[in-house]
């Protein structure tokens, strides 16, 4: 043993000796044994989460740089930097230092723009990643908790973004903070207290920039970083889902190994993401605070919007009718409070969906195959309905820009949004479900009759027919491998002993919902082997 070690020590290259040293303390060989050749499936839609992860890292890196120059203070100073149209203007130190970063620190503007563009892209990437997981049913057991972690990341990301947007203390963000304060005031009983405590007194006071700063750079990103780590650990533990295909089952994961392919691909992708964001920041201005001006609570500009991820909340507040109830010396500001409640509720609807679906199906098995959206028509329709509601509210949040750029009346757009917030999702649900069923039917036909080749043949008696090419075994498998649930049935009202069975209301509801998911008209039965044989053997091959 000892001699062996000695000879090894002499010959082992430096890298190995370092690894040995680390292994003795960290156990890295055991870790590497399990993970070095870990398999990741190849699909572009599996990389959306990576875009989010990498833009998050880009934001942290650039954010650290910005803290070197930013002064989170609301003390009033006069501007004497290099931007002429603000010379001598009164502004907070926060605004002044942001101007300094933008005009007097070399590369400061670039880093600021990377940081802000990165934030918009981070939230957008989380959104599409979440939708990918949703529409492929990748949130099913065992991944429900990871779905919630992801949702929390999106939710916290919105507030991290909002607090960051508020820090420069410019006229646009100040208006956003004012809106937030007005919304807090609408909370019954404790609203005024929360507002006073948050702002250190009346709005705007002199505290909120410093307080938002600690939330923006420490509290919220700290929690998010923890969640990201947990999210990734669970991805490793669960192993990635993969799409249905030949050789891909619920018990394996097919793809390329981490070392070397995914180290190069995922590692390289980080640089691609950073590079693209840097180029975007080179060519397009974001949040030009010099053009917007310093905050004054009595000034405002039209076109006052939050960043896109808060646009949906902005829409809710814009289109709500101005309901206000005055009773017994108190005011219930429903016109503001209802949107404030709807904001987490609408987002929460998508967050709790996995639990609702698993309750409806009663399925307790693990699922590692990412479904095709068409094969889960009711879920897909629900998701599209949700996106529709979200999108309609985004339109509501930008109603003034839509009005000026499409020559519409702002009042008509507001009414459109009011109606279609309710009608839009219903219409979207019905249409989506029909489209899904249509696609299922097409898959069904494709399996039985083959794919349309585009070749037209003329038969001896003059009839024209299109030649259909039979599918390969792999393609046939791909189109038929998805599972189809049988609709649930209520047990008979009387059991075998003639005793009346007690069926709870929730169980009745569950069965009803289950039937709407998997009953007649909600899925197209897969072709059976008999059907296939009858057709292929009967008709020859067209």
């Amino acid at each position: 043993m000892s001699t062996a070690t000695e000879t090894k020590n002499k010959k082992a290259p430096a890298g190995e000796r370092v690894a040995d040293w680390a292994d003795g303390r960290l156990g890295i060989y055991t870790l590497a044994k399990a993970n070095m050749r870990k398999i990741f499936p190849d699909h572009w839609s599996f990389m959306l989460g990576e875009i989010a992860l990498y833009s998050f890292i880009v934001i942290i890196l650039t954010g650290v740089y910005l803290t070197l120059f930013f002064h989170p203070s609301m003390n009033e100073v006069e501007y004497h930097g290099s931007y002429v149209p603000l010379q001598g203007q009164l502004m907070s130190e926060a605004f002044n230092s942001t101007m300094h970063i933008s005009f007097d620190v070399r590369g400061g503007l670039l880093i600021r723009q990377i940081h802000h563009w990165g934030a918009l892209i981070f939230l957008a990437a989380m959104f599409v990643h979440m939708m990918r997981v949703f529409f492929t049913g990748a949130f099913r057991k065992p991944r429900e908790i990871n779905w919630l972690f992801g949702f929390l990341l999106f939710f916290l990301g919105m507030f991290t973004g909002f607090t960051g947007y508020s820090l420069p203390d410019d006229l646009l963000s100040g208006t956003g903070v004012r809106f937030m304060q007005g919304a807090i005031l609408s909370v019954p009983i404790i609203g005024t207290y929360i507002s006073m405590f948050l702002f250190g007194g009346e709005f705007p006071g002199g505290d909120f920039v410093a307080r938002f700063y600690s939330a923006h750079i420490l509290l919220l990103p700290g929690i998010m970083l923890g969640l990201v780590v947990a999210h990734l650990i669970l991805v490793v533990v669960h192993k990635h889902t993969h799409y249905q295909g030949p050789g891909r089952t619920n018990n394996n994961v097919v793809g390329m190994p981490l070392m070397p392919v995914y180290m190069a691909k995922a590692g390289g992708f980080f640089f691609l993401v950073f590079g693209v964001i840097a180029i975007v920041a080179a060519v397009a201005t974001i949040n030009p605070i010099w053009a917007i001006g310093p905050y004054r609570p009595d000034y405002v500009g039209t076109g006052a919007q939050p960043d896109w991820y808060m646009g949906f909340a902005e829409g809710l507040i814009r289109v709500m009718p101005g309901w206000e109830i005055n009773l017994w010396g108190h005011t219930l500001v429903l016109g503001v409070f209802i949107p404030l409640l709807l904001f987490p509720l609408v987002l929460g609807a998508i967050a709790v969906y996995p639990f609702i679906e698993s309750w409806i199906t009663g399925d307790k098995r693990e699922h590692h195959i990412a479904q095709r959206p068409r094969n889960a028509p009711t879920r897909t329709a629900f998701g599209v309905a949700w996106i529709t509601a979200y999108g309609i509210m985004l339109v509501g949040g930008g109603n003034d820009i839509f009005a000026t750029h499409f020559n519409l009346s702002i009042n008509s757009i507001t009414w459109f949004v009011r109606i279609f917030f309710f009608a839009g999702p219903v219409i979207a649900f019905i249409i989506t479900k029909r489209i899904c069923l249509g696609l299922q039917r097409r898959d069904h036909d494709k399996v039985l009759h083959g794919r349309e080749s585009g070749i037209i043949k003329r038969l001896p008696h003059g009839e024209f027919v299109e030649v259909h090419e039979p599918l390969s075994a792999g393609d046939r498998y791909k189109l038929t491998a998805h599972e189809q649930y049988e609709p649930a049935e209520l047990p008979p009202a009387v059991d075998e002993n003639g005793v009346e069975r007690k069926i709870s209301r929730t169980e009745k509801l569950r069965v009803k919902l289950n039937k709407s998911y998997y009953g007649d008209g909600s899925q197209i039965a897969k072709p059976t082997a008999e059907e296939y044989k009858e057709i292929t053997e009967g008709h020859g091959h067209h």
Binding site: P85, Q89, W117, L171, G293, G303, W308, G311, I410
Partner: protein, 269 residues
């Protein structure tokens, strides 16, 4: 129903659907596009009143009445002053073309001499703001930063932070101030055209108007510096969000597709 299903695959089906969709979109647009009646106001000044009157009779009298007293189609021009005429006709808003929520800026159809004559005639109907002289509106030597502060207090609420314009009620709007001449900016503040309130010298002295004009020219013209790059219409977070989704996320998804795609195989077997 079955027939409809059968015809879905007809080669012309896509065209029919497209036409129906276009018709529906157009119908919806017509339903939501603002409609209303044109409102305008106008005025004039001294010497060539006679010439102005002739021009007036031909081009303006049908809406504003033969003596400028106003009709149901156009407001009275008594007392609007020559500055209002110079603005309205000089920016092409008058003569109005069609009824709508607001009379838009368009091609100017009178020469400056004719505009002056018209202005002289309308000014003779009753005293009002007088067309400013170059010394009054020239932004030379004005305080841009002071103008910016005044702009944010008095103008930005309708015209946006740097004068890109914005929406008002029922299809009315505050126009974009890019490339509006200093004289017309001055006249607009002085006279308050259409639904814009006026900012008379008594509450906003001439010097402050100059400051505002200097600011608008600095931040919203072809020469405006946008150090950060393309300014995306200077519309704020809506256009930024759209850009981030389409170009930012779009480019990254394109990268993802490339990263994950299978490399071309040697030969198709």
């Amino acid at each position: 129903m079955k027939k409809l299903s059968a015809r879905r695959r007809h080669p012309l089906a896509a065209v029919v659907v497209l036409l129906l969709a276009l018709a529906a979109t157009g119908g919806l647009y017509a339903a939501f596009a603002p409609a209303g009646t044109a409102k305008a106001d106008e005025t004039a000044q001294s010497l060539a009143i006679e010439e102005g009157k002739k021009l007036y009779t031909v081009g303006c009298a049908s809406c504003h009445g033969t003596g400028g007293q106003g009709t149901t189609d156009g407001p009275s021009l008594v007392g609007v002053g020559s500055a209002a005429v110079d603005f309205q006709v000089g920016t092409g808003r008058m003569p109005a073309q069609q009824p709508g929520a607001q009379v838009p800026r368009k091609k100017v159809i009178y020469s400056q001499a004719e505009i002056d004559q018209l202005a002289a005639y309308v000014a003779s109907l009753g005293a009002g703001p007088i067309t400013p002289k170059a010394g009054q509106y020239s932004p030379d030597g004005a305080d841009i930063a002071k103008g910016g502060d005044l702009f944010r207090n008095n103008c930005a609420q309708c015209h946006n932070f740097t004068g890109e314009g914005g929406a008002l009620t029922h299809g009315k709007y505050a126009p974009n101030l890019a490339n509006v001449s200093p004289k017309h900016l001055y006249e607009a503040m002085q006279t308050g055209p259409q639904n814009m309130p006026s900012f008379p010298d008594t509450t906003m002295p001439e010097k402050e108007k100059k400051d505002i004009i200097a600011y608008v020219q600095a931040v919203n013209s072809d020469r405006t510096e946008t150090p950060g790059g393309f300014k995306l219409g200077a519309l704020g977070p809506v256009s930024e969000g759209l850009f981030a989704w389409v170009f930012g996320l779009g480019a990254l998804i394109a990268c993802a597709v490339w990263v994950a795609a299978h490399t071309a195989k040697a030969k198709k077997s």
